[in-house]
């Protein structure tokens, strides 16, 4: 994997972050192509295993983006996802992985600019870390990308 081009997997809620990413595109906002979006029906669908599998597959960073607190389409999916992300975040250093590689964000579907900003900031942050040294299946992400 190219040190300068980290791969970031973004688990995005269909109702907010995914729409925000879409809006960023419609607005022709620039954000790094390092972020690979996986759409979830709600971040409440997020399983800790998804995050670990992403790292196993060679992702250098993982972001989870759900609705603003109080705005979840399914009432509390984003709050549950946040708890799961925090649990994995506390596990990562015990596995030898920097917890900074994983982040949870809240945003609304109208925040295309915020999505682009998050994508830029996270890419920058991950670039400053060394590549994830466990790219078990380097091609896994390529294969899964449309």
């Amino acid at each position: 994997m190219n040190t300068n081009e980290p791969k970031i997997v973004a688990f995005c809620c269909h109702y907010c972050a995914f729409a925000a990413a879409d809006l960023a595109g419609v607005l022709r906002l620039r954000y790094p192509p390092n972020v690979h979006i996986i759409r979830l029906p709600c971040t409440g669908k997020l399983d800790a295993l998804y995050i670990l599998k992403a790292f196993e597959a060679g992702a250098d960073g993982v972001m989870v983006a759900g609705c603003l607190e109080g705005s979840c389409h399914f009432i509390s999916g984003n709050l549950r996802a946040k708890k799961r992300v925090l649990a994995v975040k506390s596990l990562l250093p015990k596995l030898g992985i920097a917890p900074e590689r994983l982040e949870f964000f809240n945003l609304s579907s109208a925040q295309g600019d915020r999505f682009a900003q998050i994508a830029r900031e996270l890419t920058e942050r991950i670039k400053n870390l060394s590549p994830n040294p466990s790219p078990q299946e380097k091609g896994a992400l390529e294969g899964g990308r449309r």
């Binding site: 790292f55 596990l91 015990k94 030898g96 466990s134």
Partner: protein, 226 residues
Amino acid sequence: MIVADQKPIEEILQMLEPYKKVLFLGCQTCVAVCMAGGEKEVGLLAAAVRLARKQQGRPIEIIEGAVKRQCDDEFNEPWAKTIEQQEAVLSLACGVGVNKLSERFDVPIVPALNTKFFGEVERQGVWAEVCAGCGNCILHLTGGICPIARCAKNLLNGPCGGVRADGTCEVAHNGPRPCAWVMIYERLGKLNQRQNIENIFAAKDWSSDRHGGPRKRVREDMLLET
């Protein structure tokens, strides 16, 4: 159900240190329900261990699996060949499963869980000890609330002086817990059995508990040998 807790990941990694080829075998009964050692936890733990070992530059080959009840040879047998090909097995069953696999296979069986108690589901994510398996049940006299398991002092004639004004117990590790004897008193009232509280229980014979050594139950009529 038997309630267990996953051991800290550091301890699991340390136990697995000498091995490169390991089967992670979960149990789909009690420990699956208490979210400690079912199929799901096997997947999570395997991913975590693989990641950690890769980071250390010492990759590990993990086969993931789970059986219906690890405490029963019958369910473990389909895994026999796989188990025998491993350097070790990490069992995500309760201690019974670990013992059972160890009796059957000449492969190190490593426990991934700390087995804790017999418990009920209080709410999702919370399990509470309500039966101590003492071998001599008196629940019909105590309104279905066990003082052996739920009273910190296992008192048969309670409550003691440690009950607070709000009905909680003075022993409050894991947060405040209601006094078992206050619960029993109230429950007996609802059942119109409050006279039970006047029974004085004699000193308990603990020989039916662990104090009599490891226990075994035999049902002669169910034995297959003639």
